[in-house]
């Protein structure tokens, strides 16, 4: 149960190109977006060139083929995360998925289990990506509900010591990330889910950084909603997933309204189609959903446990090599336990932007800044960090190239 990185890299056309005048591409920015294998690129092209038509609508052969391709992708994605087909909603991104839940809850009228009032609370954490923070801030502002959160400890874990005070009988939603896109920390969901369900709250899981990297099963996790983006899982841009428990999706009011999500419409009223159509207004992102299906198939064939194993090994190697650099501070768990293959750091006084620029000149692509988790940066007391995020096409050579480039940066900026 393992794979050859050299073989995997052949599936990804981008590795045939070079960077900055002939340098080998060392892509360590998969946390932002992953590269795409040919099978995904071709799935989109094939849809356009052979089967393109509006799904669910036409009474013609192309429409049938397009519908089969689109609904087939839904089936693959559902299997990939262990859910039911009718529980999978295609969105444009994880950002939309989370906004969908937050806005739909805002649309709930009193009597609906999702209706929020000033006596309710919404719980998040200090390590959330802005996509899993601001929609809840806004929902709180719109409904008067209180926003509460778990802090992050100095060793980069969630502080759950006060869980019973944070998640209370008034809590309606707990929105939490599975894996931090900055720290790499994998959060202990069991305790959170247990407490949330105890008080009747739903758990919304931001799985952007977990679904692409490990085997994720919605039934085992027992969360209520789960969001991820296709583009971080070797899939196309412009497609995301919201998964939700069937009975909850049934009760949740719709979000975007328009064609294909209705049952009946008059000039002043409308009623809704069943799930998942209720949440997919308009002609959907068909080619992208089909591409995401191909991505999930590709990942399944490699095996998600093998992907995870590979990343654990590579993270161990990276943590060891990087720790040996003078002046480095790794912002995230130092132990290779309950953490993913994302390593953020600061390097003495050199600003992350300057580090990023220098290592780029060596062909190494990293990301710098607050990584859309500004409150976390403040909590960790760093204005910004440099982040290297590894994936299935990276290997020890890439870690070595990063380390060498970092040493080069120290030399380059130490000139004065």
């Amino acid at each position: 149960m393992s794979f050859s990185v050299a073989e995997v890299r052949k599936d990804f056309p981008i590795f045939e190109r070079t960077i900055r005048d002939g340098k080998r591409l060392v892509y360590l920015d998969s946390g932002a977006t992953a590269q795409k294998p040919w099978v995904v690129i071709n799935a989109e092209s094939d849809f356009y060139s052979k089967h393109n038509a509006a799904v669910h609508r036409g009474a013609h052969q192309l429409a049938e083929e397009a519908t089969d391709a689109y609904e087939g992708a839904r089936e693959i994605v559902a299997k990939f995360i262990g859910g039911q087909e009718s529980e999978v909603i295609f969105t444009k991104s994880a950002t939309e998925s989370i906004n969908l839940v937050a806005y739909a809850m805002g649309n709930a009228l009193s009597g609906n289990r999702f209706a929020l009032s000033a006596s309710d609370s919404i719980v998040v954490t200090e390590m959330e990506h802005h996509a899993n923070l601001i929609p809840w801030q806004q929902l709180a502002a719109r409904t008067g509900a209180q926003l509460k959160w778990f802090n992050v400890t100095q060793d980069s874990r969630l502080d759950l010591s006060n869980i019973d005070q944070v998640i209370t009988a008034n809590t309606k939603v707990v929105a939490v990330t599975h894996q931090s896109n900055v720290l790499g920390t994998i959060n202990p969901l069991e305790a959170i889910v247990k407490r949330a369900h105890e008080v009747g709250a739903v758990v919304v899981l931001d799985a952007c950084q977990s679904v692409p990297h490990m085997s994720v099963n919605v039934v085992e996790l027992d969360v209520d909603f789960l969001a991820f983006s296709g583009h971080k899982a070797v899939g196309p841009t412009g497609v995301g997933v919201l998964w939700g428990k069937a009975e909850l999706l049934d009760e949740l009011p719709p979000f975007l309204t328009g064609g294909s999500m209705i049952e009946n419409v008059t000039m002043t009223t409308a009623t809704w189609a069943p799930v998942p159509q209720k949440f997919e207004a308009g002609v959907p992102n068909m080619a992208q959903a089909v591409g995401l299906g191909a991505a999930c198939k590709y990942l399944s064939e490699l095996g998600m446990d093998a992907v995870r194993e590979h990343e654990i090994a590579l993270t161990g190697y990276a943590l060891e090599k990087m720790s040996s650099i003078d002046g480095i501070r790794i912002v995230g768990p130092l132990e290779n336990v309950a953490r993913g293959a994302t390593v953020s750091f600061t390097l003495a006084e050199i600003h992350p932007h300057d580090i990023g620029q220098y290592v780029d000149s060596q062909g190494v692509a990293v990301r710098t800044g607050h990584h859309c988790a500004w409150p976390l940066a403040r909590a960790m007391n760093v204005p910004a960090t440099t982040r290297a995020s590894f994936y299935l096409y990276n290997d020890e050579r890439d870690v070595d190239a990063l380390v060498e480039a970092l040493l080069g940066a120290q030399k380059y900026f130490g000139r004065f």
Binding site: A63, E263, N264
Partner: protein, 147 residues
């Protein structure tokens, strides 16, 4: 021609001469369903006495498939018990989900086995099921009523 497996003579015949069309004002349950993708509508009145379907009538507009289907359904379930009708609905639903791989049980479905051809046309399965789903709802409601 493949189209002929969809538009079998008996289907077009029921379409031109729909059975049980026109609503009977006596009923234990009235149900309206709509095919959201095309706007076809059906209203169905069901009368159940002592667990037996004594009358099923309907009105609405739709394509040949949806009209013929509800017409045959009405023929089929009249004078049946709710349990018998339930078995017929199950059998028909399975046939519709078969994507052209099943032939349908003539013992249970009688003439309605001709809808086997419809199951090859995914866009039309909903049409064939429109009246049946309305009937299913009405039967559940009538069960409550007649107990």
């Amino acid at each position: 021609m493949e189209l002929d497996s969809l538009y079998q003579e008996v289907i077009l015949d029921h379409y031109k001469h729909p059975q049980h069309k026109g609503l009977n004002p006596v009923y234990t349950a009235q149900v309206s369903h709509v095919n959201t993708s095309c706007g076809d509508e059906i209203t169905l009145n069901l009368n159940v006495e002592n667990n037996v379907i004594t009358s099923i009538t309907w009105d609405g507009q739709g394509c040949s498939i949806s009209q013929a289907s509800v017409s045959m359904l009405s023929d089929l379930v009249t004078d049946k018990t709710l349990e018998q009708a339930d078995a017929i609905v199950k059998s028909f639903s399975e046939l519709m989900a078969s994507k052209g791989t099943a032939a349908g049980d003539p013992e249970v479905l009688e003439d309605a086995v001709v809808f086997a051809g419809v199951s090859k046309f995914p866009g039309r399965v909903k049409c064939a099921l429109l009246g049946w789903m309305a009937f299913k709802d009405a039967a559940i409601q009538s069960q409550g009523e007649s107990k």
